[in-house]
Amino acid sequence: METILAGISDVITLTNILYILLGVFTGIVAGAIPGLSGITAIAIAIPFTIYLSPLTAVAFLIAINKGSTVGGAISAILLNTPGTPDATATTFDGYPLAKKGKPLKALTIALYSSVSGDTFSDMVLIVASASLVTFALKMGPIEFTAFVILSLTIIGAFAEDSMIKGLIAACFGVFLRTVGLDPESGTERLTFGVVDLMGGVPLLAVGIGTLALGEIIRQIEVRVSTAGEGISLKVSKNRTDGHASWKEYKRCLPTIFRSAIIGTFVGAIPGLGSTVAAFLGYNAAKSSSSNPEEFGTGKLEGIAAAEAANSSVVGANLIPLLLIGIPGNVAAAFLIGAFMIHGITPGPLIFESHARLIYGLFGAMVIANICNFLIGNIGLRFFALLIRAPSTIVFPVIVLFCMSGTYMIEGGLFAVGIMLAFGIVGYLMRKLRFSFVTFIIGYILGKEFEIGLRQTIIITNRNPKAMLDHPVAIIVFLMAIAFVGYITYRNLKQYRTNSKS
């Protein structure tokens, strides 16, 4: 208890709070600009934190991470271009609502849900993490592989119109990730002698190209073919449309709560990350709603579901990061580096060796949530001004950020070329109605999936009976199979009723 109080009092200093404010602000700005993202901001900020105290440094970086989840929703809602993959699900209802003239309502519900989800997951982290060490260590390669298969199945199944197309896109993503050096033997695969491909097709180039640039190309096409409809949003003058009311927030609470639980669970499993959570949360809200057909037309619950889920990953992601030292996503990988610079090795021992710092960090996370809420509230109004800017200005600026962001993170013009190429791939996938989202998730999880699967095969010594020692993995595998069965049955039934009528 004393350690907890000491830790929390460590964080309440003017310097820390100023750094947290700065971090949240930087995060929101970086998250809002497609092509920049919180990851870019963290990557740039790390060298500047080397000479700060460990607590201030890590609090600053986590504040950036938190801010960027709120910022990500801004461009998703206003421009239909998610800056990061995890804001993609937010576009489904966020953009339609903005188009109806209620962008500020969409933005405020996104902010409220985001902060609520984040707070929930922080609470779980703070209360439960110390007792989760043993459980976390039991999650070996076999269990992890099972979870990846389950999440790819679920996301593939909910993809736009057909499960087969969704799964094809996911497999394409996994396949593309095999380019580069074989993780075990170091031999080259599918590099065609191109040196730049030895490290694989650069992750962020693919992400930014498919998600942001692909959408820009599609919108340009829409503008050309409909003589300028594009993203020029008309803002409703009605006052009640300018914000989300307490009543509306209360209506969304069950959805937020469900998404927060999903997001926290997903965040606690390393490697799945916030994109997966956002889709699971969105689909869960859709399938448990009494009017699922309203989703995708600008439903508040849709925005709340996606935002609460992707934000609640941030806190829970620190569970595997702190307890077993495995980063849940790219941002978390940077955080591990920041911890290490200050002599803190995340892992099963962190609560023994750095308890005070960890409780200080928890305090910082709560403060960051409050800052997020305050800055977000002011920032949203500022960002809503963006929609007044003509798309002849907005599009080129975004394309520039996509290019410079890719160059900065991946470090080279080669990556920029890849990003441009995947802009076209993303555009074609949208036109052919292949889910670009399942593709990206397949791509993100691909490498861990391959390594996990190969480890599984070696660890079980190619003997299926060894699986019996891993009940969790068996249950998860069965869930994946049951899920495919259920979707197939549902689609068949729908097909029959359609062909009858």
């Binding site: 076999i142 080259e188 920041a338 470090g411």
Partner: protein, 330 residues
């Protein structure tokens, strides 16, 4: 290269505008070399140990050389993506690269199309050395490396070893072959010590190898080191034997080092090497790298070059013995 530099300047200005980064131009530039900013390319991803040492020495080099040092990440292929590009730049001392011994001594041997060779570089010095060991979980029945080998001889099920890279796997095979227990192990590969340690702690595998990141767990009594796979003993664990002590041959270390393209003029090499030696030995740098379990160990350009050539000979022999064509990981 000019285009790339120019674009980088643009990006830097952009970052400045957003208040996210700043590139300051110092006024006390010395006559002669260097007259413009120096690029350091890092062959490993941001936030890791190679990136950290590069960022740290960049700060110190700027003080000594009076020019900004621009650190750029070019990760992938155990540093070979960076090295392949580095081999092709102009040898004027304005572009340098940081990666590990494997990048230069091992990767060109296994990659059929690697577009660089060990002789394509000017080696400027080693920066850090890890503290590599084989380790097991603290409650493991194996107290020493010999216990492990004895128990492997009679083992019914294969013992699961977590390797971190193809070169480690190859060296592990050499050691187990010398002990006569080569086929008693199954080898899985994990990406880095941060992934391997939980696999051992969670009981998913039996034996691990780490470059130093695992030593915190040893100090806390969660893991146990069996043997050092380096030439010298460790200050923190003075009683721990090395593989050489036990009569084995091989398993050289994983130095991080800095190099430039072949043909950097001798006087520039001298300026750079001097500045690098000074930079790595700054107390703050030494302290931070100790936290990373990747302690600073500077060696001169000549020693570095000799070491790297002897390592590549060693790897060439191993590859001849265990075969390039056979899959290393199985």
């Amino acid at each position: 290269m000019k285009l790339r530099n120019r674009l980088f300047e643009k990006v830097a200005v952009l970052a400045l505008v957003f208040g996210l980064a700043s590139v300051t131009i110092t006024s006390n530039a010395v006559a002669g070399f260097p007259e413009k900013p120096i690029n350091i390319w890092v062959g490993f991803s941001a936030g890791g140990s190679a990136h950290t040492i590069s960022t740290l020495i960049a700060k110190e080099l700027k003080k000594t050389l009076g020019q900004p040092i621009v650190v750029t990440v070019k990760s992938g292929g155990a540093g070979s993506v960076m090295a392949a590009q580095l081999a092709k730049v102009k040898p004027d001392g304005y572009t340098l690269g940081v990666a590990v011994m494997d990048t230069w001594a091992f990767m060109p041997l296994v990659s059929k199309k690697a577009s660089y060779e060990i002789g394509d570089f000017t080696y400027l010095g080693t920066l850090t050395t890890g503290s590599p060991c084989f380790y097991v979980k603290a409650d493991s029945p194996w107290k020493t490396f010999n216990d492990l080998i004895e128990s492997a001889k009679t083992a019914q099920e294969p013992i699961k070893f977590v390797s971190l890279a193809p070169s480690v796997t190859l060296q592990f095979k050499s050691i187990t072959k010398q002990a006569g227990v080569l086929n008693k192990f199954s080898i899985v590969t994990a990406r880095g010590s941060s992934r391997a340690v939980p696999m051992i702690l969670g009981g998913h595998a039996d034996l691990g190898w780490g470059g130093g990141g695992h030593n915190k767990y040893v100090s806390k009594g969660k893991l146990r080191n069996l043997v050092i796979t380096d030439k010298s003993h460790m200050a923190d664990f003075p009683d721990l034997p090395t593989l050489v002590d036990l009569g084995y041959v091989g398993f050289p270390t994983g130095f991080k080092l800095i190099a430039g393209p072949k043909g950097i003029p001798a006087d520039i090499t001298k300026v750079l090497a001097g500045a690098i030696e000074k930079a790595v030995n700054v107390p703050d740098v030494v302290k931070i790298m100790k936290n990373f379990n990747d302690p600073v160990e500077y060696n001169s350009p000549d020693v570095t070059k000799k070491e790297i050539y002897s390592q590549t000979d060693y790897f060439r022999n191993l590859l001849a013995e265990f075969g390039k064509k056979k899959k290393i990981g199985q």
